[in-house]
């Protein structure tokens, strides 16, 4: 079926909350950016030459610090390796200018070569560091090794790379120091502005979502590895451009600029300035690099000790870094509201349904499970599970704790989970596909523990959940949020629609459950896997969610697989029940078959087996 455009039919229904308009919200940042540009253009005439020289370098370092902040502060990738890409860009210029010669065409070719090599290396590093299942530590170790490898290559390059003394004395653009100052300054201001727009855009939220919970992202259909690799590649290219500029200005390149000491210094500057703020790392780099230049001559050993101590003090006293602490102080002094008020108001709308978007038509069966087995070492958790489910069936999985219910859910939503056997979603074999690809085949899985993005708001989380079906903008934050009817229903029933701006970490456990369910429904799945979706919800909320599930199966031919312990709930809504015991199906039949079976009474329900008509 072709992808339908997301339209906005029920616009009039939702009241528009008055708030700062987009234009007004942009006034302050635009004014700050213009002021920064003005300063950059005017400053070289006013500042002493030595300071102008140092600031050029600091501007370029700060540009690299921004990429570190985007990777680490926003996305949670602790990287020591951005210096290597800076070095690659610098050496691209140094090598071409030394061995080939200099003219504008060659300079641009060197720029392109540096950026391309940096991007290829970054893609390689990303592939190694972020393959599915890699721990964050693994990525950090690889980015730590990268600058060491690059430095070693430069050392062993003999006359070609200039070994430990690097390359110098090559020709470059004949520009005044003031001109370089303006070029580097404008580069930094533009880069900061672009990064600011990106991280605040709807696409930028995905970075924070990845930082908060990679697994949840993957099960929302987001290819986390790809997001991280692409980001790494883009950040590498930017660092390489900064390195190229650096070589053009300084007319010297040395292995230290690609080294891991520089890579670590970048992290320190970002942390001191305030990671996850963009402006903090820029200011941190400028202040620390400039003061280092002035003071390291006067206090050669003491200065290193002082910056080291400052780092320790800031990490302990101001774990968020200097800028957030300063802003909090100013806010308190002027009694301004907290930053959260800056979020644009969001209005909910109904989205045009896109069932099975991207699939070649629905299958005869929504789900086919054939001889699926799963063992952990010698422990057999699933021993040959077989069943078929048609669209429109609401199938409950019941069974004692430890029977393998959650394991079965996991096998259906992640091709790598089962030990053997085959599974088809909408007649598509899931083979060994990762979770995000199973989402594209129609799977939507809600976890047993409520998993939400702790630092995002309710509205932001829902938008992240829509990433696959309505790709977010990299430039702006939409004020409308179009969601499928089922997701809207859950949000209205539980009151989440009244808390769109609430940060998820302040939601109660039950609200987190409801939010996760709404996020999964926002995927418009055709096979909905729900692991105890009503745990922690009140009876009234359970009833409502039960009704929504019944409607989804009846009216939209959704297939729902439900793990539940509340047999009354199961009896009310299921069209079919499978009983799992010690990893095997012991009963597969109608609700009545199961509820009245002696087996269920004995191994599972105890005296609490519901009798038709009686509620516990």
């Amino acid at each position: 079926m072709a992808e339908l455009p997301v339209s906005t039919p029920s616009r009039a229904a939702t009241p528009v909350v008055p708030g700062p308009s987009r234009q007004r919200r942009l006034v302050l940042p635009a004014a700050l950016a213009s002021l920064a540009l003005l300063l950059v253009l005017a400053a070289p005439e006013l500042l002493p030459t030595y300071l102008v020289n140092i600031l050029i370098r600091a501007f370029l370092y700060a540009s690299v610090a921004i990429t570190v902040d985007v990777l680490w502060g926003y996305t949670g990738i602790l990287t020591f390796g951005q210096s290597a890409f800076f070095g690659i860009g610098a050496y691209a210029a140094g090598l071409v200018f030394t061995h080939v010669g200099f003219d504008t065409g060659l300079a641009l070719a060197a720029l392109a070569a540096g950026a391309v090599v940096a991007m290829i290396v970054a893609a390689l590093v990303g592939w190694l560091a972020f393959h599915p299942g890699a721990s964050p530590l693994y990525g950090s170790v690889i980015t730590l090794v990268l600058p060491i490898v690059v430095t070693q290559l430069l050392y062993s390059g003999g006359n070609f790379t200039g070994s430990s003394s690097g390359l110098s004395g090559f020709e470059s653009f004949e520009l005044s120091i003031e001109a370089w100052f303006r070029i580097a300054g404008v580069f930094l201001v533009v880069l900061t502005g672009a990064a600011w727009i990106f991280v605040r855009s709807d696409a930028g939220r995905i970075l924070e979502a990845v930082r908060d919970d990679e697994q949840r992202c993957a099960y929302l259909g987001i290819d986390v590895s790809r997001v991280k690799v692409l980001l790494m590649v883009a950040c590498a290219a930017i660092a390489a451009v900064a390195g190229w500029l650096f070589a053009c200005v300084q007319m010297v390149v040395a292995p230290e600029y690609a080294g891991f000491v520089f890579g670590t210094e970048l992290l320190m500057w970002v942390a001191l300035g305030g990671r996850g703020t963009l402006i903090g790392p820029v200011l941190g780099t400028l202040v620390l690099d400039v003061s280092t230049s002035y003071l390291s001559g006067a206090l050669p050993f003491l200065w290193k000790l002082m910056t080291g101590l400052a780092f320790v003090v800031v990490i302990i006293a101001l774990p968020q870094g200097f800028l957030p602490a300063l802003l909090a102080l100013l806010r308190r002094a002027w009694k301004l509201p907290a930053a959260a008020a800056a979020l644009p108001p969001v209005t909910l709308q109904a989205a045009e349904p896109q069932p099975l978007s991207g699939l070649q038509g629905a299958g005869h069966y929504a789900l086919v499970v054939e001889d699926v087995r799963r063992h952990f070492g010698s422990l057999q958790v699933l021993q040959g599970i077989d069943f078929h489910v048609r669209p429109g069936e609401l199938l409950s999985l019941v069974g004692p704790n430890g029977a393998g219910k959650t394991t079965l859910m996991r096998c259906i939503a992640d091709g790598a989970e089962r030990s053997s056997g085959r599974i088809w979603l909408n007649d598509h074999d899931i083979r060994r596909l990762p979770p995000h690809a199973c989402v594209a085949l129609g799977a939507g899985r809600k976890f047993q523990n409520a998993t939400v993005f702790e630092t995002l708001s309710v509205a932001q989380s829902m938008r992240v959940a829509r990433t696959r079906l309505s790709p977010p903008s990299m430039l702006r934050r939409a004020t409308e949020l179009a969601l499928p009817a089922a997701a809207l229903q859950v949000m209205r029933a539980t009151g989440l629609d009244q808390q769109l701006d609430a940060p998820c970490n302040q939601l109660s456990h039950g609200m987190k459950q409801a939010l996760e369910l709404a996020m999964v429904l926002a995927l418009e799945p055709s096979v909905l896997l729900l692991d105890e979706p009503t745990a922690g919800l009140t009876q009234a909320e359970r009833t409502l969610i039960g009704r929504i599930l019944v409607e989804l199966t009846r009216d939209h031919a959704l297939c729902v697989l439900l793990v539940e312990h509340d047999l009354d709930f199961v009896r009310e809504i299921s069209s079919r029940v499978i009983v799992l015991h010690q990893g095997a199906i012991v009963l597969d039949g109608s609700v009545d078959d199961v509820v009245h079976s002696d087996l269920v009474r004995n191994v599972y329900a105890g005296g609490h087996a519901p009798v038709a008509g009686a509620a516990s």
Binding site: P400, G510, T538
Partner: protein
């Protein structure tokens, strides 16, 4: 009699948001009190504040007459308070046995005897001693959590949504287990529950929390309590 737990006009919450407002509640030794309420009404926050995991904004928490307001969690725990949180707060990479042994008071005690006792409550746990806690199923992790709390022989148990994710027959057994523990050791319990049926079957008294305040409390044995509580939770 000195109450096992006394909350006096307790207020608490998170940055900027007061969640519990002037709450007063007493749990006597040997008494089981169920704290009921809809989501987001502050039930878990009450338990976390008693434990010292969240700072009280006003009011006092008293354990057996001692004011422990503001005391850090590890000191509160040393007063024989066992807290089983809603999240499965187990040491995921340790084995079932190691998790259980960590429950022994001061790390000492007759583990074999405790294990026999736990085995009669949750037969699955002694069979899984070498298994990593993180690989247990969701319901089994809940059982381990409660078993660890019971092993610590607490004077006060704070139990958050223990019935969530457990099979009906286990929940049924749990009612008997908690009552037996109370009868044998005189343990006081504050039980936060969403499952009203289970809560009322195990508790002596109940309190309903709404927007951080107690709107109703009384003896479970009174007439029509279940209907009354369910009505309060619907609105």
């Amino acid at each position: 009699m000195t109450p096992a737990l006394e909350l006096a006009a307790l207020s608490s919450g998170y940055r900027g948001a007061i969640v519990v407002r002037g709450l007063s509640l007493v749990v006597q030794p040997g008494e089981i009190v169920a704290l009921l309420g809809k989501n987001g009404m502050g039930k878990s926050t009450v338990l976390k504040t008693i434990m010292g995991l969240i700072a009280a904004k006003a009011g006092a928490v008293k354990l057996l007459g001692d004011d422990v307001t503001g005391e850090p969690a590890h000191l509160v725990a040393r007063r024989a308070v066992a807290y089983s949180p809603q999240e499965r707060a187990l040491f995921q990479d340790l084995s079932v046995e190691q998790n259980l042994r960590l429950g022994l008071p001061g790390g000492r005690g007759d583990f074999a005897a405790e294990l026999t006792r736990i085995g009669t409550i949750f037969p699955v746990l002694p069979k899984r001693l070498r298994q990593r806690a993180g690989t247990l199923s969701g319901g089994e992790q809940k059982m381990l959590l409660l078993a660890r709390a019971l092993i610590s022989r607490p004077r006060l148990m704070l139990v958050d949504e223990i019935s969530e994710g457990l099979q009906p027959s286990v929940i049924e057994r749990l009612t008997a287990v908690l009552k037996a523990e109370r009868d044998a050791a005189g343990t006081a319990m504050l039980v936060v529950e969403q499952n009203v049926g289970f809560a009322l079957s195990v508790a002596d008294r109940y309190a309903v929390l709404k927007r951080g305040e107690i709107v109703d409390e009384g003896a479970v044995a009174a007439d029509g309590v279940a209907a009354r509580v369910n009505r309060l939770l619907e609105v």
